[in-house]
């Protein structure tokens, strides 16, 4: 039987990574994700792995690039300002098709911002983030358990698609301490013929993103685009009390979990309100949103920002029903009651009964 | 007799080998290769010792020196 432990969200990430076979971690301290490097610094030497505190976020993502180029499972973690610095390397990972897991326990910005929970990095995460026409798979956990499970999944997806995978949490998701069931990782290691292991019995091989020959870069970008399209089958989402919902709330991560209580509050009042919580925010669960837009009378998006994912929801809803928005810039975490009240405003505005 | 073969298609005519040769056996040529470089020529006047300095200092590995094999 799986062991249940009470651990912090950040620790769950580190433990999930280790369970999935990650033995290389490169990072640089920043609040609120420091428990990840701290855990790794303690665990890696005992496992014969490598923990390295780099001189900067820039260096750490490039150390990841080097180690991952050899086929190893590698992770780095940071928070918003540090993730901005890592974007250079993430773009190179995408261009050179090198897998890697990047954790963003995001905080608030712009600039140095603050250490409050925020979802202001949604655009950065789901639109690539760095330069060039690329995408990363983005998983948005909402509990410590999901941190553990989705980190294991992140390594699989990174290798399956030879692509960087981002875990997008926030201060709340990183700092919360919850029971986590420690499931065993059972996937068999994959062959990685692309990995740099030394030119033994073959010619030297190259991992690169520079393509200068006529048409080469065009072909490369089309190939990547096809790959991103094929990632759409990895869509994951959760619905909560969504049956017969007239108003469907849409939220991810920390707001997604808080809204479950709001839905309970509203259901107790007899309001048919449900929740759709994207777990992958790239690929975005377009079809699920579209279906919800057809079945419900209205959609309402709630985010810890001034309006980012709402654009994806509107695109996916394709005007099948109205889409309202409630955003909360960083500073305080909304309570389930507050969010329920906001939902009731929309309920009345849209004349729902 | 020691000699130097010039791989004319690899030569860029930089002349560093001309400087390197202690016996002045190499010279910038007048003929152009497909890349448009006037490649160097080796004049066999019997002075070449096969020291290979030219090949050692050629950035483009365009020279192949030969030496008599001692039996």
């Amino acid at each position: 039987m799986a062991r249940r432990v009470l651990i912090k969200g950040n620790e769950a990430i580190a433990m999930g990574a280790i369970e999935a076979g990650c033995r290389f971690y490169f990072g640089y301290p920043i609040t609120p994700q420091n428990e990840i490097p701290e855990y790794m610094s303690m665990a890696m030497p005992k496992l014969g792995g490598t923990f390295l505190q780099a001189e900067s976020e820039v260096a750490s993502i490039n150390m990841l690039l080097g180690a991952a180029a050899t086929g190893a499972r590698v992770m780095t973690s940071s928070s918003s300002p540090g993730i901005s610095l890592k974007q250079e390397g993430i773009s190179y990972l995408a261009g050179s098709q090198i897998p890697g897991v990047i954790v963003n326990m995001s905080r608030s910005g712009p600039g140095l911002g603050g250490i409050h929970p925020s979802q202001g990095d949604y655009f950065q995460s789901t639109r690539g983030g760095g330069h060039g026409d690329y995408r990363t798979l983005v998983l948005a956990p909402s509990t410590a358990q999901e941190n553990y499970d989705l980190t294991m999944l992140a390594f699989d997806l990174a290798e399956k698609y030879r692509n960087p995978v981002m875990i997008l949490g926030d201060a709340l998701i990183g700092q919360i301490k919850e029971p986590v069931e420690l499931k065993s990782y059972r996937k068999k290691p994959q062959d990685k013929p692309w990995a740099l292991t030394g030119a033994k019995g073959r010619h030297g091989q190259i991992l690169k993103s520079l393509f200068l020959a006529d048409g080469e870069l065009t072909d490369h970008n089309w190939m990547l685009a096809k790959k991103y399209k094929s990632m759409e089958k990895e869509v994951r989402f959760e619905t909560y009390r969504a049956e017969d919902a007239q108003l469907m709330l849409v939220a991810f991560g920390s707001v997604g979990r808080i809204l479950k209580t709001s839905v309970d509050i509203l259901r107790e009042k007899g309001k048919a309100v449900g929740l759709l919580r994207p777990i992958t925010v790239y690929p975005f669960p377009k079809q699920a949103v579209r279906q919800a837009a057809e079945e419900a009378k209205a959609l309402m998006v709630m985010e810890l920002n001034t309006g980012q994912m709402v654009e994806d929801v509107k695109l996916a809803a394709e005007c099948a029903c109205p889409v309202d928005f409630y955003g909360r810039p960083p500073g305080s975490i909304p309570t389930p009651d507050e969010l329920a009240k906001e939902a009731m405003k929309v309920w009345r505005k849209r004349g729902l009964k | 007799m020691p000699q130097v073969k010039v791989i004319s298609e690899r030569c860029k005519g930089c002349g560093l080998c001309v400087l390197a040769c202690p016996k002045n056996n190499l010279a910038l040529g007048k003929e152009y290769n497909a890349q448009g470089y006037a490649y160097v020529t080796f004049n066999s006047d019997g002075k070449c010792t096969g020291c290979a300095f030219c090949a050692e200092l050629c950035p483009d590995m365009a020279l192949r020196p030969y030496k008599e094999e001692r039996s």
Binding site: T31, Q175, I176, K177, E178, P179, T261, I333 | -
Partner: protein, 187 residues
């Protein structure tokens, strides 16, 4: 069943440990639970606090603005969190350091627990936090003292396991104090 609390005090009073032990006990009792500490710059203010939510249902928000209860171990914490507690809620006050009139609250129930005196009575003033936790569990009724005692070995670092009997004694002393107060009120 639903219970939440903000536990606050100054660094060194062991408020984070109280939250941890409570959360551990809830997990072992098969409850849903979240524990949320303060972090970052807030850690440097000299005060520490954490929020614990225990429920039979999945916990939505681990951060509570109007808690069902607050546990205040020093005066600044009482001033900050006392007013936030719900009308029907409870405030557990460290009577060793906080006097009446030093803070406001809407809460119906205010339990004044002389934590340091009770801890001294059982021989170790440093167990004041466990005395308070015993009082909170007895007063809150979300778990039994035995469930909390059973969780100590999981929540405490093995280095401190030899202290478990003393901790259990402190938990019981706090719980007894609340029971006696209730009995006195009834009688």
């Amino acid at each position: 069943m639903y219970f939440d609390t903000i536990i606050a005090g100054f660094g060194g009073q062991g408020v984070l440990l109280m939250g941890n032990v409570l959360a551990y006990a809830a997990m072992h009792a098969g409850k849903q639970v979240t524990y949320m500490p303060v972090y970052g710059v807030e850690m440097r203010g000299g005060t520490a606090n954490c929020t614990v939510v225990i429920s039979d249902r999945p916990v939505g928000s681990p951060i509570i603005h109007e808690p069902v209860s607050a546990v205040v171990m020093n005066r600044p914490s009482a001033e900050k969190f006392g007013p936030m507690v719900k009308k029907k809620g409870q405030v557990f006050v460290n009577a060793s350091l906080i006097k009446e009139g030093q803070f406001t609250t809407r809460a119906k129930t205010v339990c004044w627990v002389p934590t340091m005196e009770l801890a001294s009575d059982i021989g170790n003033r440093r167990l004041a936090n466990m005395v308070m936790l015993g009082a909170v569990v007895q007063g809150g009724g979300m778990l039994t003292i035995q469930q909390v005692a059973d969780a100590l070995s999981g929540a405490l670092d093995p280095r401190y396991h030899k202290m478990i009997p003393a901790n259990v004694g402190a938990l019981k002393a706090g719980a007894r104090f609340i029971s006696e107060q209730k009995a006195a009120k009834k009688g």
